[in-house]
């Protein structure tokens, strides 16, 4: 967002500075009152649990919390020296990179196609948005019915074609399957934003380029793509965060982190170690590490990358 419009009754003044308008409130208290609900939610649902995670990560305790022992950073030492944790880091990066690139490229391609003046574009657009409304667990079950080696339509067809398709035992196939399912789920969201971005590009610019003799490929790469960069950057962030943290449901319902540990991402490991294995200290230590990664990523991106995004 590049402009902030304040509530008129508070009598804000707009200050023009370059392209941006700034709002100055005359009432000192009002902004805080308006912010209070958001701050309260942030404190209760973000800061409190985050603090709890940090606190629990330096203890070992039984599932009932009857006995706790302060162990300094032993949980972190255990986690970081665990080869399965490092394996999970690898899986997570492969997963996040693949999901982000597949979901974004597909969505951009679909959006460019849908932006053309074709008959029935409205229906086409609506259909593309549907997957976003499907709950992750339901999405996983749909994929299961398609790709299950014994009861899935495509799964059976693949086997009949002589391809040894069995994602329950083949780790690569399992990872491929959760990547595809997670990407499919995210394409709709990306599609919406890309389409909106495309529609906000002034037609006059494109017409001018056409008159200058630029073909459609050239117009896309020299005008459309750069003008889309704020949307692309925003989606990059959202997709990374999505694949890191929001794909639990799909993985849980499709593979449960297996076979072996082939689809166990960092967030899934936090769940299985904490909830299934009741290792609260180790699981908290992993959450803290994840928190540090996210804080770092966000800081770097906002600080350095956003500045290079052209409007």
């Amino acid at each position: 967002m590049n402009e902030v419009v304040g509530p008129q009754f508070a009598g804000p003044t707009f200050v023009r500075g370059g392209m941006q308008r700034r709002v100055i409130f005359n009432n000192k208290l009002l902004p805080y009152i308006l912010l209070a609900p958001q701050i309260l939610i942030t404190l209760i649902f973000f800061f409190w649990p985050a603090f709890q995670a940090v606190y629990q990560s330096v203890f070992i305790q039984d599932p009932f919390g009857l006995r706790t022992q302060f162990v300094w950073f032993e949980n972190f030492k255990m986690v970081l020296s665990d080869p399965y944790y490092l394996g999970s880091v690898r899986v997570t990066f492969i997963f996040a990179f693949s999901v982000t690139s597949i979901a974004m490229c597909t969505a951009l391609w679909l959006a460019v196609m849908a932006d053309k003046h074709i008959r029935g574009a409205g229906v086409y657009k609506t259909l593309l948005i549907w997957p976003y409304a499907v709950a992750p667990a339901v999405a996983a079950v749909l994929w299961l019915f398609i790709f299950h080696p014994s009861i899935g339509l495509l799964g059976r067809a693949l086997r009949e074609m002589g391809i040894l398709w069995d994602y329950k035992l083949n780790g690569h196939q399992a990872l491929l399957l959760v990547i595809l399912a997670a990407s499919w789920k995210q394409v709709s969201y990306n599609f919406l934003f890309f389409l909106a971005g495309l529609q906000s590009i002034p037609k006059s610019v494109l017409e001018a380029a056409s008159i200058d003799g630029a073909n459609s490929r050239k117009r896309f790469w020299t005008i459309v793509f750069p003008l889309l960069s704020p949307t692309t950057f925003f989606l990059l962030m959202v997709n990374m965060v999505y694949s890191f943290f929001d794909t639990f449901g799909i993985i849980h319902a499709l593979t449960g982190g297996g076979p072996g540990k082939a689809t166990e991402t960092l967030i899934y490991k936090v769940y299985s170690d904490g909830i299934i294995h009741l290792d609260l200290g180790g699981s908290s230590a992993q959450s803290v590490i994840l928190m540090i990664i996210v804080i770092g990523l966000t800081a770097i991106q906002f600080r350095y990358v956003e500045k290079k995004v052209h409007y």
Binding site: L66, R67, K168, L169, P259, G260, H277
Partner: protein
């Protein structure tokens, strides 16, 4: 305010026992509440699972199951096998599964649900072979896993060989394999006796139920199988009154009555957990109308439980189950040998056991 009663699955037993201040052991509850109680009404394999090694019962058994073998009689006929003679041993099972595949009587010869439970926990009990030291953890928290024994490695190798020749298919973790039998996909399955209700409902073929197979050259086999399912734990709370405990104790007495046990068994497919309950079902003629419905009970009670077939009491057992599943999956993927998979499972499982021991130390 914690609840009065918590229903906990069988592999959570060690975790509950370690929560000393949070629970009220059954024997203590019944004594304090002054409710007449005789642990002997429960069948030994059930009683033993929830008792200390000195025999004092810690929780109230309720829904207990055991693992059995279901087989597709139509597929047996199609493969030229006698549908009234299910395989008794692993060698026979392998022959049957191969014949079924050769005749294409089913897509899968043999599969197993709950891989750790049916192929390791039940397997060890039936072969009178320890899964862990210290009587499978019943005698102390310092137990270590023993599934790297020659018998366990041999069994993983059998599964790997059967997979290679096409007579076995891994059905996935936990209950994922269940679906393969009622759909007719797999001709033979090792699964919970509780799967019966679903098979009755869904299977469009004639089926039978049999006891789990064993290796006939193993001395002492076959022994009784062990249970799965859950039991009731009484929870303590600072302001809980004697009257409340009395109510809980009366409830336990109520659900242990023969008619309740019998009704629960017939309506759900879980086991009759008391002898009196079993006799009552027998007298009602239920087993005559439902042949094979008493087979899980007969398998569970076919021998006096030994040190190796009393049950398991290992800390964080759910995590150990997952570890065994993961290592088995890696062996079936061809990433490691049978021996390596069991060595890895033991090494990783023992870390879990030591952490639990340390965490639960008073």
């Amino acid at each position: 305010m914690p609840p009065h009663i918590v229903q906990m699955f069988e592999v959570g037993t060690a975790t509950m026992m370690a929560a000393r201040e949070a629970i009220k052991p059954l024997h203590e509850l019944m004594r304090v509440a002054n409710v007449p109680f005789d642990p002997k009404i429960y069948v030994p394999a059930v009683r033993g699972y929830y008792s200390l090694s000195d025999g004092r019962m810690m929780s109230t058994p309720f829904n207990s199951s055991t693992a059995v073998m279901f087989y597709n009689k139509d597929a047996f006929r199609k493969a030229g096998l006698d549908p009234e003679k299910p395989p008794r041993t692993w060698a026979e099972l392998r022959t049957c599964a191969n014949k079924i595949r050769a005749a294409n009587a089913a897509n899968i010869g043999f599969t197993a649900a709950w891989p750790t439970w049916t192929q390791f926990e039940q397997f060890s009990a039936i072969h009178d072979t320890p899964l862990a030291t210290r009587a499978n953890g019943m005698d102390g928290m310092d137990a270590v896993l023993m599934i790297n024994s020659p018998l366990h490695i041999r069994h993983v190798q059998t599964l790997m060989d059967m997979q290679k020749e096409g007579s076995f298919k891994y059905g996935g973790r936990d209950s994922a394999g269940d679906a393969l039998f009622p759909s007719g996909e797999a001709a033979i399955i090792h699964a919970s006796s509780g799967l019966r209700a679903r098979i009755v409902r869904e299977a469009k073929f004639e089926w039978g139920v049999a006891m789990l197979p064993y290796y006939e050259d193993v001395k002492g086999a076959p022994k009784n199988s062990i249970i799965g399912g859950a039991s009731f734990w009484t929870m303590t709370a600072p302001k809980r009154t004697p009257e409340e405990y009395k109510g809980v104790a009366e409830f336990y007495r109520f659900i242990g009555q023969p008619e309740i046990v019998a009704r629960w068994h017939m309506e759900t497919g879980f086991l009759p957990i008391t002898f009196a309950g079993y006799d009552r079902v027998m007298a009602s003629g239920y087993y005559k109308q439902n042949p094979g419905a008493d087979l899980p009970f007969r398998q569970l009670t076919r021998s006096e439980p030994t040190e190796n077939s009393r049950g398991l009491r290992l800390g964080n057992m759910p995590e150990i189950r997952n570890i065994i599943q993961e290592e088995l999956e890696k062996a079936l993927q061809g990433q490691q040998s049978a021996a390596e998979s069991m060595e890895n499972a033991v090494r990783r499982g023992n870390v879990v056991l030591r952490n639990f021991e340390r965490m639960s130390r008073p």
